[in-house]
Symmetry: C2
Subunit: 586 residues, 2 copies
């Protein structure tokens, strides 16, 4: 088993940063040899067996039930080469709860049924069952996986995917070591309590997170705990330590899987050069700190070029919401200082949380690397303009697009469309636009009532589609939130951002058609708009939604269909729910 | 809609006891008229629509997530006449959690697929789906329904079923009013936390319940609460009040759905005449208080014959485990005293918790009413002797029968057997007996390792089967627990109880073959044995298990099959999981 050996050998690299000393460089040399030896194997298959279960965990020293994969949260990092096939047998060992896992950033070309989006591409995996995801990772870069069912992501079911370029093909940017971190926000209340609060008429919001986690580790001040188990000496909540050697350059892959928070990431005293975004090469630019929104991944380069006599802070701070969560920290350890010795300073507190222009400017700075431009089509076939608002449906608080709040059907769309079970969802198309001439995005919506619908946007296969996300005031005065929108099955070009109301007559003329970055997740800034373009070239049914978990749960999403008629037979294992229970199968 | 009118009219009766004054008798008269008018309708259909959801509830003043039916826990009482058809559309509005509902005491003759036992008779109902249970209630008496999936029963999904004799046919015993109460134990930790604790290698027991609930109401001392919402003035935790009129006789239907606790029920100062057990007429006997085990139902008669100038306590106390739960109380209100005026006394504290002989003697006193004897077959075709022990499987604590701990298969047995998907479970028969000659039931088992198995007992159709439950020491010295065993799909004769080790040569000679009571749930007393007989005359697959929820979750159950070949086509709606996903359907 060449592949599994290769896999086993790559894995320790991900953990190397927890080791002290010079083991890492040696490992790397070893890996290099392995790659040189086996690199010519064109496409490997990486087969993993995952058991998903609830376990008591204390990622920030406070014990609660978390969803683990093989005992871990975050789950194992998937490391593979471009073109490799990933096969994951997911055994649901949750006791009464279903499951679905989304491979965030993987386009699932030819395998739309393994996108892992419950209600869209598959029935949920019921307890006791094993569901096998099988897909190809076709682009190098940094991706993620996470639960896509209810609010299970928030319970800890997430991890990283790292796709390496083919052996022998160098990255455009050079570095000595490759490290990864994944950021998260964390609550002490169960996702059940959170979800019930959100979906009650007597709407209850869980509030800001108790902690920010870096690679699954945070630190809560246990003296604030009135009941429950909280132990600041629990090794589970020891800070993450990244050990560096003075003078070396590090590629740091950063992913954010937060349920709510927009984050700002900083390494005390070290500039960051942004080189990758969502798997695409970025025209390098230097920042003191990086804004990262839920669903985004970046690679930054930094050089260990500071006084090596002490350690430094990694600091993660909440932005775009008034923070009520302590700075999340980890330790940048200069070898040979003791790895857990705290830096002599206070952790950076990040930029002003409500400096929207700071965030907008950084969003605008992310352009395609000149050597890696994927030019967008210069025109589009269709424009969908989506007004993002808070609304009420039958007295329940919801998020809506053009006053339609999204609800999942009982039969997943992919099955319903392919098997022609059309009564399973609303066949009327959802609105393409809103009354942009008269709508005041700075005011509270006059008629806050929305309708709930299972309707979807059906796109012409291979057509070019523009989506304009238009932000607005929420139901509270002088409030507009940041929404990171994530598209399944595609990467889109980010044609532009603006503050204020998008004008379909004027603003398209300002689109960046020269070097727009491609991404799968993009921020919609407060009171702003974001313009995207993508090609509907991937047969399947694809969710496009705000990546804030509670917002999607409250209806902030749409679904696109394209070319489902081109798909072959659906795998039976995605079925079993809704009308698919009654399907006749060969 | 004759039926729904009838139903609507019966319903208020169940709530009448919350009213003050003489409304109840008038209601009864009204009901009598209704019955007299429509009673000749042989079999009605009662159609209800239930929505099952998590909601925040404070049944004992402490707020936690509870599973409700149409907003209520306990759920609505089902009231029907003998021979009526019950149709319940159960919509699963839990967010990520499946569901199955068992109709406890209803034999499901001809409808084994609607027994509601997840993994045995059906796939779980996934969120968003509506599953329709449809069955006939063929015997008058007091029954229950409750979740039969994971530990959802403990989360509040339960209620009463009352089957009335055909109109015009009087009960054997006479009474003025018919009232019902259902008893439960209640924890503040979520069932998730409980279930994960039980199923972890690092076994964690949630401990004794915080409260005992009478008709869903208890009272927790909020001053003991260190965090969370607890409010002793919350009307949700006002005590249940039963208003009586001096001199009248009341039939009180008592059901226990506890997850753990054996209970003792007492009405301060009032003797109870036991007249019904699990739907069968009991040779009346008088007790000061009644032991009731989880899964049992009784009717008792009591006369409001005490000083009517004040109110009295209903008291529920834990027996057979060292109690660490306050007495559960409700108020017996003598009209016209203020209904919520507390009695001037302390609530009764019940019998000694560990007086096993007291419990055994009461069990032995429950005999069939001479006018209603269903004579048992005098011999049986098969004897299955089940040793009840605590064991370990791969380091996990389990309960086992003859050293086999039960695990559910992924494809429900009924589907697997009927559709011949035999690889879905272990085809080897489980052991019929244990080494009773040499086993010391008073000692900790020497080899505590057990095996986990999905194997089942396949019974000859129409054969007569004896099951002897043999209790023993647990893994702790000098400890043996009470186990209430419940059989699905049948009622059994209780042939006898004993303390010590059952001797197959001698003890059968002591069987009561004259007037044994029929039941569906029976206690196995500490270090004792209980002998049952039933006829395997109901085609289907039937669970037989300890009704302590955590014990069943830890493997304390077996499954019987009989006559599956005689069944017609299975309904498709029970399918969708395991191998049934791949079935070809017409």
């Amino acid at each position: 088993m060449l592949q599994s050996r290769k896999e086993d050998l790559i894995w320790p690299k991900m953990e190397a940063s927890r080791c002290v000393g010079l083991a890492a460089p040696l490992q790397y040399l070893f890996l290099f040899i392995i790659f040189a030896t086996f690199g010519s194997v064109q496409a490997n298959t990486h087969h993993q067996k995952w058991e998903v279960a609830y376990e008591f965990r204390s990622p920030d020293c406070f014990q609660k039930l978390a969803i683990t994969i093989n005992g871990r949260t975050p789950g194992p990092t998937i490391v593979a080469g471009q073109g490799d096939t990933i096969v994951i047998d997911v055994k649901n060992r949750l006791l009464t709860e279903n499951l679905a896992i989304h491979w965030h950033g993987i386009r699932q070309i030819g395998t739309p049924w393994y996108d892992g989006t419950e209600g869209v591409t598959q029935c949920p995996i019921v307890p006791g069952e094993t569901f096998t995801y099988r897909f190809v990772v076709d682009r190098p870069g940094t991706y993620m996986y996470h639960a896509h069912y209810g609010m299970q992501r928030s319970a800890g079911l997430y991890g990283l995917i790292q796709v390496l370029p083919p052996a022998g093909m160098a990255e455009l940017f050079t570095y000595d070591y490759d490290r990864s971190i994944i950021l998260n926000d964390w609550w002490h209340k169960s996702t059940y309590e959170q979800a019930v609060g959100l979906s009650s008429k007597d709407f209850t919001f869980v509030g800001e997170p108790q902690s920010l986690l870096i690679n699954g580790r945070g630190k809560f001040n246990c003296s604030n705990v009135r009941s429950g188990v909280c132990n600041e000496t629990n090794p589970e909540c020891l800070p993450y330590v990244l050990t560096v050697v003075s003078g070396k350059t590090y590629r740091l892959r950063i992913a954010s899987i937060t349920s709510l928070s927009a984050l700002n990431f900083e390494i005390e005293g070290h500039n960051l050069t942004v080189v990758e975004a969502d798997g695409y090469h970025v025209k390098p630019f230097v920042v003191k700190n990086l804004n990262i929104y839920s669903g985004e991944t970046y690679s930054v380069l930094f050089k260990a070029d500071q006084d090596p006599s002490h350690n430094y802070w990694f600091a993660v701070n909440v932005v775009s919401r008034k923070p009520n969560t302590p700075t999340g920290t980890a330790i940048l350890n200069y070898y040979p200082n003791p790895p857990r010795r705290l830096p002599p300073t206070m952790p950076p507190y990040g930029p002003l949380w409500n400096d929207t222009m700071y965030q907008l400017n950084q969003s605008n700075a992310i352009r395609s690397h000149p050597d890696y431009i994927h030019p967008p089509p210069l025109t589009s076939d269709r424009m969908i303009l989506l007004l993002n608002t808070q609304n009420f449906v039958d007295g329940y608080l919801k998020w809506a697009l053009n006053n339609v709040t999204f609800t999942l059907p009982h039969t997943p769309y992919l099955i319903a469309l392919k098997e022609k079970l059309f009564h399973g969802f609303d066949q009327r198309p959802p609105p393409e636009t809103y009354d942009y001439k008269n709508y005041d995005i700075y005011a509270i919506q006059k008629n806050q009532n929305a309708t709930a619908s299972t309707s979807i946007y059906r796109l012409g296969f291979n057509s070019t589609v523009d989506v304009i996300l238009q932000n607005a005031n929420t139901k509270n005065p002088n409030n507009s939130e940041t929404h990171p929108w994530h598209l399944h099955g595609h990467d889109f070009w980010v044609l532009g951002y603006g503050i204020g109301k998008f004008d379909p007559e004027i603003d398209p003329k300002r689109y960046n058609l020269v070097d727009p970055i491609k991404k799968n997740t993009v921020a919609l800034h407060p009171y702003g708009w974001t313009a995207l373009r993508f090609q509907a070239d991937n047969p399947g049914v694809w969710a496009f939604h705000c990546h804030i978990e509670s917002h999607f749960a409250m209806g902030m999403g749409v679904v696109f269909e394209e070319g489902v008629d081109k798909l072959g037979k659906l795998p039976t294992d995605i079925m079993g729910c809704g009308d698919s229970k009654y399907l006749k199968r060969p």
